[in-house]
Amino acid sequence: MKFTTALKAVALASVFSLSFGAVQAQTLHMMNGGEPASLDPHRVSGDWENRIVGDYIEGLMTEDAEGAPILGAAESYEVSEDGLVYTFKIREDSVWSDGEPVTAGDFVFAFQRLMNPETAAGYAYLQYPIKNAEAVNAGEMELSELGVAAIDDKTLEITLENPAPFFLGALTHYTAYPVPQHAVEEFGDDWIQPQNIVGNGPYTPVEWVPGSHIKSVKSESYHDAENVQIEEVMYYALDDLTAAVNRYRAGEFDILTDFPADQVTALGEDAAVAAFQGVHYYVMNQNAEKLQDVNVRKALSMAINREVIGPDLWGTGEVAAYSWVPPGTANYVEDAFQYEWADTPYGERVEEARALMEAAGYSADNPLKLTINYNTNDNHQRLAVAISSMWEQVHVTTELSNAEVAVHYDALQNNDFDSIGRAGWLMDYNDPINMLELLRSDIQYNYGRYSNPEFDQLLRDSATELDLEARAEILAKAETIAMEDYAALPLAFYVSRNAVSPRIEGFVPNARDVHRTRWMSKSE
């Protein structure tokens, strides 16, 4: 009797799953990774939140299918001669999903809210190029002194502290999104609850089940609604990547925004792996007595065989990093820095590195003792194990120590680690300054506390240089200085990993790894 019930259950279940399969024609099912902390653009910080928020709010600038900045809520802009004043015309047909027009006032309100210390927006510093932004954010100036002003309802003027060639790109970031002043004033912090939320983007969130999914539906009031094809987007929160791949293969997901590196062959042509602007690196603690000698740091860097990291160790083809700024970064010089030993055969490099270590007084009997700290993760562990065996060849013995991510970064930020710490940086916008700033003296995420006044001065000089090419030269010089100082140890440039079903069209792998749903379509 039990068995017949079980059989019925299975039969019924299959009917259910079949009917479930039939109704999802224009729905995009996206495995989105983590659980969003919020839908408020001023309170989010992750790429999984960006996918949702960027689908429901549109900034002055937005991204095209390739992730490059294009006009969004603005229909045009002008830049003053000195590169300091940007004047945006906001689209006449840009409206909030409740019918209210999007005004310059909404942008002013949003930028002031972002910089208001009470909002405690973690990413506010991304818009520090705006005049007085840093002071306002620190509570030293009034909100009204922020360099964002509404000339009239549809004209917005943004004044910058210094000319910033990356500013239009930075405006695609969610920190620069407008928020609906009328809704925020009416509902307060609850304006992002699904019953209150309004957006000006192609989709509007309608349902949020924490731990499961967020559902957004196409907004008919969006200015380009006629070209938006996907009618409904499901963003699933799922951290277990193996389970995600299973569900992808079961046809439940159209897009995986990440997958375990070892699944790349199993996914075959669905796997979309693309170069991504960011670097995996090892921080070298410049305060550690044993790393004071630049030749020791150089030897450590030289002794690493970077060519095996991406292709063999991780299996996803990360590109070996012999520089700090990822190749292809905008507003930069053509032949940027690369270590002169990059092309030396690995065996010779190890010889040279060993000689440097021996000159510094280390030998097989008197090895340099280092600890590699990394955040718990299979890939980071494999890398640490591999590097410690590479370093063994140059008289270095290593101890590995791992901790979960919050603990690990807490230690890095407080410079509380023995010698070597694993870190990664994904660029917030496409400009070399975003990478180089990590090595500036007074900045918190300069984990190794590298400090070189010459380097700092070059960064300051670059901020006031109007000529783009001259600025690029200054920044390239700064990179060279930091790299020759062995300020940090770049290992590999990131790649983004997506799996995209053949049913989906319009997904273009790109270096920003931004794929707005409005450019995609789905066939059965």
Partner: protein
């Protein structure tokens, strides 16, 4: 019996209090905080955030504020989910976790008791061996592996069932998670039931019943089942709490919106409020279940008396 129950409930309160206190201070002693990540907050911003969550107060003051809040029924804000308070998240996750856990509980207990009985009756014959084999799989293989395998077979290869996710009202989505969750539980109950049933079938009163001329069915139904269930019942309380708290792995694999998942995420994110809230919930649940089990004893075993 009512007096006994009241006394048990009252004695549970100090236990709950101590547990929350210990949990509170252990959490704070753990390195890292809710706002540590690879992107550090600027100091001014961090100060604002910390003030918002009372984290700038002395630790003992924070503790008093928290206990005060709990007594008023306010579990405080979640530190990693800005748009929901801890109570709101619990209200969303709890019904789901309970539904999942209780469904698994009912199914596992029924299957466990039945298979245990069958195995005992057919002791050392092929039904016994077969059932022991199936049961052992549930005990030995960890649930994350069973979960992934079932997902592959039924979701990917056969496509009979959804491989994960949750659609309200669709029980098809519950089949695999419930199967994974209940397997190990059914296995344990089945083993308990088999052992205790074999023992019961060898007792004098069962022999007496048989010698009266009662059929084997009647012997089982009237005389053997009830006493054989006692060890099973003593396991049900901890078993149910295991199902409700142990659902976190299943929730993680199948992407289900239950509190087990919130609990894991909260612990990793150092979301103090959420960890304490879920701990409190689990603890009260376990205390309540143990009480119910103790009361059920009285019904099953005439030798137990409550004072």
């Amino acid at each position: 019996m009512l007096r006994y129950a009241t006394r048990r409930v009252l004695s549970a309160l100090p236990i709950a209090f101590i547990a929350v206190t210990v949990c509170f201070f252990i959490l704070r002693a753990a390195p890292g905080g809710p706002f540590d990540s690879d992107r550090p907050l600027p100091p001014e911003v961090l100060a604002n955030v910390r003030a918002y969550y009372n984290l700038d107060q002395p630790l003992f003051m924070q503790y008093l504020l928290y206990i005060g809040g709990v007594l008023r029924g306010d579990l405080g804000p979640s530190m990693s989910s800005y748009d929901f308070s801890v109570s709101e998240l619990m209200a969303i996750g709890m019904p789901f976790s309970l539904q999942l856990g209780l469904t698994a509980f009912v199914i596992a207990t029924t299957i466990g008791v039945l298979t245990g009985m069958i195995a005992a009756v057919y002791k050392n014959k092929w039904p016994d061996y077969l059932l022991v084999l199936v049961v052992m799989i549930g005990v030995i293989v960890p649930n994350f592996l069973i979960g992934a395998l079932l997902q592959l077979w039924f979701g990917v290869y056969l496509r009979w069932l959804p491989a994960g996710g949750w659609v309200p009202g669709s029980w098809a989505h519950l089949v695999l998670p419930v199967a994974v969750l209940s397997w190990a539980h059914a296995a344990r109950i089945s083993r308990l039931m088999r052992g205790s049933m074999i023992e019961t079938l060898g007792t004098n009163y069962v022999r007496t019943a048989r010698s009266k001329g009662l059929g084997e069915r009647m012997v089982l139904a009237r005389h053997a089942i009830k006493p054989a269930l006692i060890p099973v019942v003593s396991y049900l309380g901890p078993g149910l709490s295991y199902l409700l708290t142990g659902s976190l792995v299943v929730e993680q694999i199948f992407g289900l919106p239950g509190i087990g998942r919130y609990f894991i995420q909260a612990a990793l994110n150092r979301d103090y409020g959420m960890v304490l809230g879920t701990t409190l919930f689990y603890m009260l649940l376990i205390i309540a279940l143990n009480l119910i089990v103790d009361l059920v004893y009285a019904w099953l075993d005439p030798k137990v008396r409550y004072r």
